[in-house]
């Protein structure tokens, strides 16, 4: 016996198991980042002074990063769409682009961090920087996690396309949901930290 609904959706819920699972996980991630945002709001509201993001941080670089992450979201969904259209080569291309975008995002982030450290700004410097480093740091860790999964699905994991294509497509869809969420968090992080 196989566990049911691993590949085909259960009719009344409309989802297969992994999709239900990832959405539940994402709900918990909303609470995780939400709690950090809440903390940011509380600390800022309670502080006598708080610098504007654009005074302390590099807005053009972060705008570039935002564009990169949004692009990676498109390439991610395109990689899934390619599998749905049974085009494995296209899938590999788009997934590779997604991973590349993620890598560029991290490199740019690395530049930003290094620049801050060189200027003597550390998490301990002020709560502004504590919030900045913690929020972007945790987001960065999530980017790394997503990239590891994507790399696996591009590389060794892609063997499943030959043996169980629908299940593999589902895996890519689920990984995509996670990756879009990471993009979504950044969509809120970017203005909150850099533009306000």
């Amino acid at each position: 016996m196989q566990i049911p609904y691993t590949v085909m959706a259960r009719p009344d819920t409309g989802v297969y198991n992994a999709k239900a699972g990832i959405w539940l996980f994402l709900a918990s991630e909303v609470m995780l980042f939400g709690a950090l945002f809440t903390s940011y709001i509380l600390l800022r509201v309670g502080a006598p002074t708080w610098p504007h993001g654009y005074e302390e941080l590099n807005v053009p670089l972060a705008t570039l990063n935002t564009a990169i992450l949004i692009t990676s979201s498109v390439t991610m969904v395109m990689s899934w769409a390619s599998l749905m259209m049974k085009n494995f080569k296209r899938y590999k291309l788009f997934m590779a682009l997604t991973i590349l975008c993620g890598l560029i995002f991290l490199i740019v982030k690395g530049f930003e961090y290094e620049h801050k450290f060189a200027a003597g700004h550390f998490p301990s410097t002020s709560n502004f920087f504590a919030v900045y480093f913690t929020l972007t740091g945790l987001h960065g860790l999530h980017v790394i996690g997503g990239m590891i999964v994507n790399a696996y699905l591009w590389g060794p994991g892609s063997k499943m396309w030959k043996t169980d294509p629908q299940r593999f497509t589902n895996r890519v869809e689920v990984a995509g949901l996670y990756w879009h969420f990471v993009d979504l968090v950044w969509i809120f992080l970017f203005p909150s930290l850099y533009l306000l």
Partner: protein, 633 residues
């Protein structure tokens, strides 16, 4: 023990797994890194029981200090009984590596650990407990009991083993994630234990780890935070699995309102864990940043500690920690009680031979309870200077949340009326749960009302209140569950006489331990005092109760040894149970053999035709109608 039972040859009528399809797994994949929910459930159960005993031992050491402050600790009197029960379990289980042997050896290791920890200049010079060490015991007792004991047993143990059976599933939706969830829990537990060996000892800022004390505390607090991150991860993996399984893998005919109440309880509990834990994870990360990276999330500027100004930049809010902590910790207490209510419902329905009264009300109540549990948390913060408006809000939600609790308890009580009650050991524990949880719940009311909380906050009254709910409350329900489902897991019954001795002894002792706390709290004795209130004039009149409670705690340990012996003795020599010894209607009893088919649970996937508690239907040959059986005309 039970895992050996699984290895017994079973001749299914319809093969659940064509033999060609899976090769026999090696020892490590079968018993250690198993992905089978039954094995994982047993792993969780045994690990959690060990941690419960360990947390209890820490408390018994504290109770020595409280009853006889400043007196040298009688190490051998604590260590020898622990070692003895460990040796007995090893002897019963046999020396070839069986589960019982492992447990027995671990008990011996614990005894050695107690011997080590009850000495040493930093902990107990000349056997006299230092206040710093008392604080470590206090913080770790709470942490271990809640996060390593009760929840892993109630959710990881019972939930994992029983829930898939009750919904007719062959396993959880994500078996590998299930395995990861156990091992992450295990790692988290080991991390917590390691914290005792770190310079400065274990965490000592209470299980609540309030800032700024926790931020400036010794290294053990950092280890505690890392342990919590691991435990939260384990919990998240588990809750995703539970919810997906219950939603997606219910068998044919099993609509939501035909689910056993136990499954509903696990379902709501999993949502609480899923959505309430992440803010604590965020808070834990921030506290780690404060401790390691020198940030000031929770640290105001200019704190002076031991004459030294702290160098942090400041601007932080200790109250932020409290909000984030209690946002989890309040739903956490419902995580502690909901599975217990689920178990009690099963045992009561089965042993009254009638349906649960008000099943639908109970289901709506438990859903409402779960929802409300997210918006009551600041009743733990009434004394933090919150204004009247916000206090009124939390007071109102707290009063409202007592309603579904009362409905559930009332339905369980009313379910007894007109029943054909069988007073076996699980039923005795389930029955005792009702008034004990009642006392626990009622004593919560003056705490939930802001005005009376002024007098009672941070006193022993609070400790009495929550222990009533968790100890003779949840723990009794968990015992009921163990006595009830032991036959399913092992194929043998626990000894009834020993069970009744365990029950009556524990019931009496529990009340002698926790009722005096309510009295001491009303007299104004504060909690977390390492001398039990000796230095305070207002405590003098109730100090004698410390001795009473301590003796009761030590006697209580004796009765738990009866249980431990029963557990391992009956696993090997208990009376054979038969397929459905309790004549129960739910799928876990009626649709699977005893023990369940090792791979796939069912000889034939059941289909459900009726609700979960169809006992004593008129004009039927037997007094129970299993969910998966078509009735005779």
């Amino acid at each position: 023990m039970s895992i050996d039972a699984h290895a017994r040859v079973h001749a299914p009528t319809v093969l659940s797994h064509p033999p060609a399809q899976h090769a026999e797994l090696g020892f490590w994949r079968k018993y250690v890194f198993s992905t089978d929910h039954k094995v994982i459930g047993i792993q969780y159960t045994l690990t959690a029981l060990l941690f419960l005993l360990f947390g209890f031992t820490l408390m018994m050491m504290m109770r020595w200090q409280l009853a006889r402050p400043g007196e040298p600790f009688p190490t051998l009197q604590f260590v020898v009984p622990l070692a003895a029960i460990g040796a007995i379990v090893v002897l019963i289980s046999g020396f070839r590596p069986k589960v019982g042997t492992v447990v027995g050896v671990l008990l011996l290791v614990f005894a050695a650990f107690v011997y080590w920890v009850a000495s040493g200049e930093e902990r107990m010079p000349d056997g006299v407990m230092l206040p710093e060490f008392y604080n470590q015991l206090g913080a770790m007792h709470g942490t271990i009991m809640v996060f390593l004991g009760v929840v892993p047993l109630a959710v990881g143990g019972f939930g994992n083993y029983i829930m898939p059976l009750q919904i007719g599933a062959i396993d959880m939706a994500f078996p590998k994630i299930n395995m990861m969830s156990y091992w992450t829990f295990f790692l988290g537990g080991v991390t917590m234990l390691i914290s005792f060996f770190v310079p400065g000892g274990a965490a000592n800022s209470g299980w609540t780890s309030y800032a700024p004390l926790s931020v400036i505390a010794t290294a053990g607090q950092t280890v505690w935070l890392i342990g919590m991150v691991l435990l939260i991860t384990s919990s998240l993996l588990g809750s995703v699995n539970f919810i997906t399984t219950i939603v997606q893998l219910r068998t044919r005919g099993l609509s939501f309102f035909r689910l056993p109440f136990f499954v509903w309880a696990q379902f709501v509990t999993s949502f609480l864990l899923l959505l309430a834990f992440p803010p604590l994870e965020a808070a834990g990360i921030m506290q780690l940043m404060d401790r390691i990276a020198g940030t000031s999330f929770f640290m105001p500027a200019g704190l002076i500690v031991s004459g030294q100004i702290q160098p942090n930049a400041g601007g932080g809010s200790p109250l932020l920690w409290q909000h984030l902590f209690w946002f989890l910790a309040h739903p956490e207490v419902y995580v502690l009680i909901l599975p217990a209510m689920g178990i009690v419902a099963e045992v009561i329905a089965n042993n009254t031979r009638k349906p649960i009264w008000g099943y639908k009300s109970m289901v709506y109540s438990i859903i409402f309870l779960g929802f409300m549990s997210f918006v009551v948390w600041a009743h733990h913060m009434f004394m933090t200077g919150m204004g009247t408006a916000i206090s009124a809000f939390f007071q109102a939600t707290t009063m409202i949340i007592s309603i579904p609790s009362v409905i559930i308890l009332s339905c369980l009580f009313i379910s007894l009326y007109g029943g054909s009650i069988r007073f076996n050991t699980p039923m005795l524990f389930a029955l005792a749960f009702l008034p004990m949880f009642g006392i626990g719940g009622l004593t919560g009311l003056p705490l939930g009302l802001a005005s009376s909380d002024i007098h009672l906050h941070d006193t022993y009254y609070v400790i009495g209140h929550f222990h009533y709910v968790v100890a003779p409350g949840t723990l009794f329900a968990l015992f009921a569950g163990i006595y009830y489902w032991f036959p399913k897991i092992t194929g043998r019954r626990l000894n009834e006489t020993l069970g009744k001795i365990h029950f009556f002894g524990s019931f009496v002792c529990m009340n002698f331990i926790f009722f005096p706390m309510l009295i001491q709290g009303l007299a104004g004795v504060s909690r977390r005092l390492y001398d039990g209130g000796q230095q305070y004039a207002h405590a003098q009149g109730v100090l004698y109760l410390n001795e009473v409670m301590s003796v009761a705690a030590w006697v209580m340990a004796g009765f738990q040894f009866v249980f431990i012996f029963n557990l391992f003795w009956s696993a090997r020599r208990g009376k054979e149970a038969g397929e459905n010894p309790w004549e129960a209607t739910t799928l876990d009893w009626a649709a699977t053999p005893t023990p369940p088919v090792p791979h796939g649970n069912f000889e034939k996937i059941p289909e459900v035709y009726r609700g979960p508690y169809e006992y004593s239907l008129p004009n039927q040959a037997k007094d129970y109608a299993p969910q998966n059986e078509l009735t005779e005309a």
